[in-house]
Amino acid sequence: MGYVVEAQDLTKVFKRSNGFFRRSSQGQCNSLIRAVDDVSLTVEAGSVLAILGPNGAGKTTLLRILAGLVLPSSGDAHICGLDVVQGETREKGLVGISLGDDRSLYARLSGRRNLDFFAAMHGLSRREATQRIDELGRILEIPLDQSVQASSAGIRQRILIARALLHDPAVLLLDEPTKSLDPTSAQGLRGFIRERLADHLGKSVLIATHNLAEAEALGDEIAIMSSGRIQARGSLDALRNIAGLATGTIEDVFHQLAKERE
């Protein structure tokens, strides 16, 4: 099976100001942060890659690069054979992204109004948009006519996922999709991602999470990311082998690999 997502040697170095009057120990006003460091990865159609790592590991930056929202310092990425950096994947609407920031909705508008606006941005006609929004609203159990600011964090999270799915992208990038959800809702959403999106609709899903159980439940493969690098990648069995463990959960594997890094 061909790869839907292919990234080669992706690196992103951010220049961050130390402040107007402060200099680094090397006497520089700016410091360099290597957020993503030489990352290569592939994802097949219909499979879920869970990117697991602590805060600041570079997961979100990696997703933003794949969505074309951040330009890499070096390396390249292709989705369905089209160049991400040149904006080809964006033009074809191949990627949907949910960055998990529920601030990124128009809070004073309803879920339906929000989704209709973004459907128009993706070129859906009014009729297509209405059908799609009703369908997603039903599947994701979103009260569409309620204003976003009156909605719970969980509902907002569902609207964000619905927004990422509006234009029926081949690849879905999800950043901490269950972070604001109660356990029951989180389980329901994981089921939706795994069964409906990946298994049934054949979407490729990259999901960034620091939730070990979520990575284990969702990922066909798990990539453990730390300090901008993918430290290990594979199925849970493969990761156990890498960690030198005969048995154990993803949590055991994660801690063992972290210990080895230290």
Partner: protein
């Protein structure tokens, strides 16, 4: 074409619904326009509605002159600050990235971000004229609507292009808007908004010739109050068209470069 129309309409509907969701602010904005006009109406009454020397080419008193000047000044303000303000609001609301995931070219995004401001400015200008003409007696009966429309169209392109330059600055630096600071600050003095530029000394008149608002104000005054034809207004239309044709590509290029720079810096969502 249909998709472009739907996209622009979606921006208009979204911006309108957000605007009217703050009813108190909308009402205050309307009151502000009315109170601003009343000030100049009473200044006009104070000086006896005389058509003084420098106003003779327009054939109107001070209130009628300043009515159009203010309407266009406000029009320019919305054009220049509107796009930058919209970019800034989308950054603060966190929606800019979500919009930029969509298959937009910078020109399409620029059109989407400026359409609501342009329509608002047109509505505001209509409000100024209606209020001034119906309630305060400004003489708009001779207006040449075609000439006025052409002047306004060129003004929209020029002002929104300056707005794109301002939005580029906001996209990269997040705050501080030198374009609005320069053009709006200077336009009040040099653009013929409050008084005809002929009042100014020669060297300031030379500077005013560099501003699109100068031609827009004079052209609109003559089109509305004197019914001037397109031919008569060639001295205003041609320089305005030239400035628009220079500023538009400059604005679009700088906006595209600013988006690329923000993506490179990873600061699209920062504010």
């Amino acid at each position: 074409m249909r998709t472009v129309g739907r996209t622009l309409l979606a921006f208009v509907i979204k911006d309108f619904l957000l605007e009217v969701s703050y009813r108190f602010a909308t009402a205050l904005a309307l009151i502000e326009v009315a109170s601003g006009l009343l000030i100049y109406f009473f200044i006009d009454r104070l000086f006896g509605q005389e058509v003084v020397g420098h106003l003779q080419p327009y054939g109107v008193g001070y209130f009628a002159y300043v009515l159009l000047g203010l309407a266009l000044f406000s029009f320019m303000g919305t054009g220049i600050s509107g796009v930058a303000g919209q970019v800034s609001r989308e950054q603060v609301m966190g929606t800019l990235e979500a919009i930029l995931v969509a298959p937009f070219r910078p020109a399409g995004l620029a059109a989407g971000l400026s359409i609501s401001g342009t329509l608002y400015a047109c509505g505001e200008m209509a409000g100024y004229l209606l209020f001034g003409a119906v309630l305060l007696g400004a003489p708009v009966g001779n207006a040449n609507l075609l000439s006025a429309a052409v002047i306004l169209m060129l003004a929209v392109v020029s002002f929104n292009s300056l707005g794109l330059l301002a939005a580029s600055v906001i996209m990269v630096f997040k705050r501080g808007d030198p374009i609005a600071w320069i053009f709006q600050g200077v336009a009040g003095l040099l653009g013929g908004v409050y008084f005809p530029v002929e009042v100014l000394p020669g060297w300031l008149q030379a500077l005013s010739a560099l501003l699109p608002v100068t031609y827009a104000v004079r052209g609109l005054q003559l089109a509305v109050y004197q019914g001037a034809s397109l031919t008569t207004l060639s001295g205003e239309i041609l320089p305005l068209a030239f400035l628009a044709s220079v500023l538009l590509p400059l604005g679009l290029l700088s906006f595209a470069a600013a988006i690329r720079r923000a993506k490179g810096d990873g600061t699209l969502a920062h504010y």
